[in-house]
């Protein structure tokens, strides 16, 4: 019995060692995004020192990341659940288009001002809630539900302005893109504010903790009495909120409401979330990770632009980033089936 007990200790130790090795790997994965960001900054600084590090360029980066950050933060909670939301292009474009038709504009007589902005954002929230609801109740995978809604939202957007986009004539809204506090435009401030809200939700509310729990193994919170379905639907609704805000800000910035506001916004956001370290499998990552991820994507974009790289390559590179980041973090077990 003694001999077997000795060796038994060894097996337990082996097991403990295995867990330790996994944790070390996890720790490396945690700092990797920051190293990547650092590497990028150094790279571009070296190549285009004067231009890249100029105040003008750095503030441009700061402004460029506002809308992608908004979208990515909404997406982050979804991915922390282990799900995905592909409706972004449509939801963002829809919010922008609807807003432009609800405020004072060149196409109709509406003059709802801020109410119009809020209603447009609400539309995206509702879409998010519906996506969450269908996913939860009909048990259709989130990628498929959100994929369908991308097209549905695009359709709604295009229908709303019937091919000819509305130009915003509301005097306040026209001024908004030009207002700045401490040199930073209002739009960026909104993104910062929402980021703080999202971070707060993540760290200081029970709901934020529940997201981690559901993403890790939804049976655990379910047995503890948490309403898992409600958590999921709320997460998708919050994503819709972020997409909606991004959409209306995009419309305000453009001065016009059209579907194009949303086109192409999904890839940078997906890339940002995964490269920042939030794993697709769920249960880990968070807002700070996404912030780093958005910085990486924006710096990369900016750098490539300064290097006069063909702009069409941008999306392709983001796609590659998604592939590499996911390939590095996915679980290789044969027993868990990922489809």
């Amino acid at each position: 019995m003694a001999a077997s007990t000795n060796a038994h200790i060894t097996i337990t130790d082996e097991f403990a060692a295995k867990i330790k090795a996994e944790n070390t790997k996890a720790r490396i994965t945690r700092i990797a995004p920051m190293l990547v960001l650092l590497a990028l900054v150094l790279f571009f600084s070296a190549l285009r020192t004067n231009v890249f590090l100029s105040i003008g360029n750095l503030s441009a980066i700061l402004n460029q990341l506002a809308i992608p950050l908004l979208i990515a933060m909404g997406l982050t909670f979804v991915i922390m659940l282990g799900c995905i939301d592909l409706s972004i292009d449509g939801s963002v474009g829809m919010a922008g288009s609807l807003m432009s038709l609800l405020v004072l504009n060149t196409k109709n007589g509406n003059h709802l001002g801020m109410l119009g902005v809020v209603l447009a954002i609400l539309a995206s929230v509702v879409i998010g809630a519906i996506i969450g609801f269908i996913y939860v109740k009909l048990k259709i995978p989130s990628f498929m539900v959100s994929f369908s809604f991308m097209y549905i939202c695009m359709g709604i957007a295009m229908l709303s302005y019937g091919g000819i986009p509305a130009t915003i004539t509301d005097s306040f809204l026209i001024e908004v893109p030009k207002i700045a506090f401490f040199g930073i435009p209002v739009i960026t401030w909104v993104a910062v504010f929402m980021f703080l809200v999202a971070y707060f939700i993540q760290e200081y509310t029970a709901f934020g903790r529940y997201i981690y729990a559901v993403g890790t193994d939804e049976n655990i919170p379910r047995m503890a009495g948490v309403n898992v379905n409600r958590v999921k639907i709320l997460v998708f609704s919050f994503a819709g909120l972020c997409f909606g805000i991004a959409g209306v800000l995009g419309g305000i910035r453009l001065g016009q409401g059209q579907m194009q506001i949303g086109i192409g916004t999904m890839f940078p956001a997906q890339a940002a979330v995964v490269v920042g370290g939030t794993a697709l499998s769920g249960g880990k990552g968070g807002m700070l990770n996404t912030l780093i991820g958005v910085l990486i994507i924006t710096v990369l974009d900016n750098g490539l632009l300064l290097m006069s790289v063909n702009p069409y390559i941008k999306t392709g590179i983001q796609g590659l980033i998604i592939l590499v980041a996911v390939a590095l973090t996915v679980t290789r077990s044969n027993k868990i089936i990922m489809k």
Binding site: C83, Y151, G155, G162, Q318, L323, V326, V330
Partner: protein, 335 residues
């Protein structure tokens, strides 16, 4: 009593399997009636010819996608592969026409190269999914953006096929009454794929892996090879769709395939193939393709805003999936 017990089980098995097919069949019937009632030109010869020739690229792409969905996977990059193949074909056609002088040879070479690209694109997803165990939706999503970029880099603007080369694509316009040659080709291909599905090791493997991947693996089936082959087939079909579009429109555009992904998935799901895998067949896909085609064409004829199409197809897909999904998999956690 045993007999009625037996027949009721059989009836249940049959009806559950084919609910979607009945619906599609009825839908086609009703839609044709409705569209004709709204605008009788729907059923005139010119429109039918148009509708059927529109159906060909869709049919061929849905053929490949059916295998992928049967495997309980998805390929969101299908449209992008189609676009790349589309621009490649036209580009190669002009290059090889110059170099070789013979447009038929040039055409053949261009088609083959486009198909090879499709196979290559499918191979990448297959490897990512099988060997790296990446979920297919994210692998194909990432590749979709890569191929989109590639298409735009090959040509940012549409290119037309020069008139002198039109001989090489004249086969596309051969007609038998209202039915065009490409459609016949596509239907034959689906027929061939159906044989593949029901009478080959590959087909049985696809149904097994899609039905229960773990069980298929434990029974000794080569799961990786099955997945890779299915994605390669889909890639080839997507490329073939791109070739069809080039021949039909006598030009290429880097975004031509973008809208097709949604339509192709809709067609496969309407054909009764469940997203959860292991259920459905290629003959159903024929039905699904026609349903999609009729909706599209009908809406155009009747004058419905093209913008409605996105909404309609988005909702239709969700409805079809809701009907065909196997919800009895209780222990499975859906994400």
């Amino acid at each position: 009593m045993l007999n009625t017990f037996n027949s009721s089980i059989v009836k249940k098995a049959v009806s559950k399997k084919n609910v979607m097919n009945y619906i599609s069949f009825m839908a086609i019937f009703i839609l044709v009636l409705v569209f004709t009632a709204m605008d009788s030109s729907f059923v005139n010869k010119a429109n039918l010819k148009n509708l059927l020739s529109d159906t060909a690229p869709l049919m061929i792409m849905a053929a490949g996608m059916t295998f992928v969905i049967l495997l309980a996977s998805i390929d969101l990059s299908t449209g992008a592969i189609c676009s790349v193949a589309n621009v490649l074909v036209v580009k190669f056609l002009s290059i090889f026409s110059e170099k070789l002088g013979n447009i038929y040879l040039a055409a053949l070479l261009s088609f083959v190269l486009a198909l090879v690209f499709g196979a290559f694109a499918g191979l990448i997803i297959g490897l990512l999914s099988a060997k790296l165990k990446m979920p297919s939706f994210i692998a194909s999503l990432g590749l979709m953006s890569v191929w989109k970029s590639v298409a735009l880099l090959i040509t940012a603007a549409p290119i037309s096929i020069p008139k002198k080369s039109w001989g090489a694509i004249s086969w596309f316009n051969i007609n038998f009454g209202v039915i065009g040659f490409p459609l016949i080709l596509a239907v034959l291909l689906i027929g061939f794929f159906f044989v593949l599905q029901s009478r080959t090791v590959f087909g049985k493997s696809v149904m097994a892996v899609g039905g229960n991947e773990r069980a298929a693996r434990m029974a000794g089936m080569n799961v990786n090879m099955t997945k890779i082959l299915a994605f390669v087939l889909n890639g080839v079909c997507a490329a073939a769709g791109g070739i069809f579009l080039a021949a039909k429109l006598k030009s290429s555009a880097p975004t031509v395939g973008d809208s097709f992904t949604l339509l192709v998935v809709a067609a496969v799901v309407l054909g009764g193939t469940a997203l959860s895998g292991g259920k459905g067949n290629l003959l159903g896909t024929i039905l699904g393709v026609f349903t999609v085609s009729i909706i599209r064409n009908g809406m155009n004829i009747v004058g419905v805003d093209v913008f409605w199409q996105n909404i309609v197809f988005g909702l239709v897909i969700l409805g079809a999936i809701a009907i065909t999904t196997d919800r009895s998999a209780r222990s499975l956690v859906i994400k």
